[in-house]
Amino acid sequence: MDTMFVAPQAEDDVSLLDILDHVLNAGVVLHGNIIISVAGVDLVYVGLNVILTSIETALRHIHQLPPDSRRG
């Protein structure tokens, strides 16, 4: 086969990397900051810092790189 066409639903490691690429890197970010919740008060959670940290972690695990090899 000339080209490898892969549907996002395919269940393999390559597909998982692609899924994480899409769902973590892109998409609408409605609130960019983590707001600590206070009981009973309407707040929005979640933020980019969390996501960026997770990508770093994911990269290190997936590619099994030493912690600082991707910097600089």
């Binding site: 996002p8 994480l20 769902v23 973590l24 609408v28 969390v50 996501i51 997936i62």
Partner: protein, 253 residues
């Protein structure tokens, strides 16, 4: 979600029209996806446990097994909605405490959301990765006379060799792809470190141009054999084509 737990709204995406939701479980594998009218738009959500998706989200995301499982469910949910209507995908882990906070936030950035919805109308995303094909296994030329010589020779063999085709080839592909697509965005960083990856991008393709786009990818793939291998994934919801303004409106806060 167990009864009595505090729930939050997990957002999958935003669309313009109201259509019946897909019968599919959301990120927690239990609660189904709902379409909630929201400041004149429609927000696609499911109600999930605050403990997993709000209070402990950061910690959960450090757990790769959790991240993988929930990430895949997020993608499935957004893809299911994208089959029903044009939807602006939300980033993983966007959670609101109530319909009110969600509506307020959507209202505050409605003009940008509308512009984005206009741009992705009738289109889907395709990812293209171009890999350098592993060259045939080289052999040691002469029998090494010492251990040091052997290691030196081995290191020489393992050294990365530049690809045979030049970057002009990649530019030629990018230019040809531009003619059949709406937009292009750089690929993400998670899979960006795959071995042998030379080039990586996402294209916004009108559904009516899907065939043309695939034919183009196949044409280049044939021409590049055997030095390069092309991998094409899709159709994706248009994750990579949410405008920077929408993505970054609150990032600097």
């Amino acid at each position: 979600m167990k009864p009595g737990q505090t729930s939050v709204l997990y957002l999958y995406g935003i669309s313009e029209g109201q259509v019946p939701p897909p019968s599919l479980a959301g990120v927690d594998g239990t609660a189904t996806i709902e379409a909630v009218p929201c400041s004149g738009l429609v927000c696609w959500i499911s109600r999930v446990a605050a403990s997993d998706f709000a209070e402990n989200l950061a910690r959960n995301m450090e757990n790769l097994d959790w991240l993988a499982e929930v990430g895949v469910r997020h993608q499935r949910a957004v893809a299911a909605v994208a089959e029903l209507c044009d939807v602006l995908p939300a980033r993983f882990g966007t959670v609101f405490i109530s319909e009110n906070t969600l509506a307020a936030d959507v209202r505050s950035r409605k003009p940008t959301l509308l512009a984005d919805l206009q741009r992705i109308r009738g289109a889907e995303e395709w990812g293209v990765k171009i890999f350098r094909t592993a060259s045939p296994k080289p052999v040691l030329a002469d029998a090494p006379r010492s251990g040091g010589e052997y290691l030196k020779a081995k290191a020489e063999l393992l050294r990365e060799r530049p690809p045979k085709t030049s970057d002009a080839e990649l530019e030629r592909f990018a230019a040809a792809a531009k003619a059949v697509t709406v937009d292009v965005a750089p690929g993400g960083s998670v899979s960006g470190a795959q071995p042998g990856l030379l080039w990586h991008a996402s294209f916004l393709v009108q559904r009516s141009s899907r065939k043309k786009f695939q034919q183009l990818v196949e044409k280049f793939s044939r021409e590049w054999q055997p030095q390069r291998r092309v991998e094409c994934t899709g159709p994706w919801p248009p994750y990579s084509f949410v405008s920077r303004a929408t993505r970054q409106a609150t990032e600097g806060r």
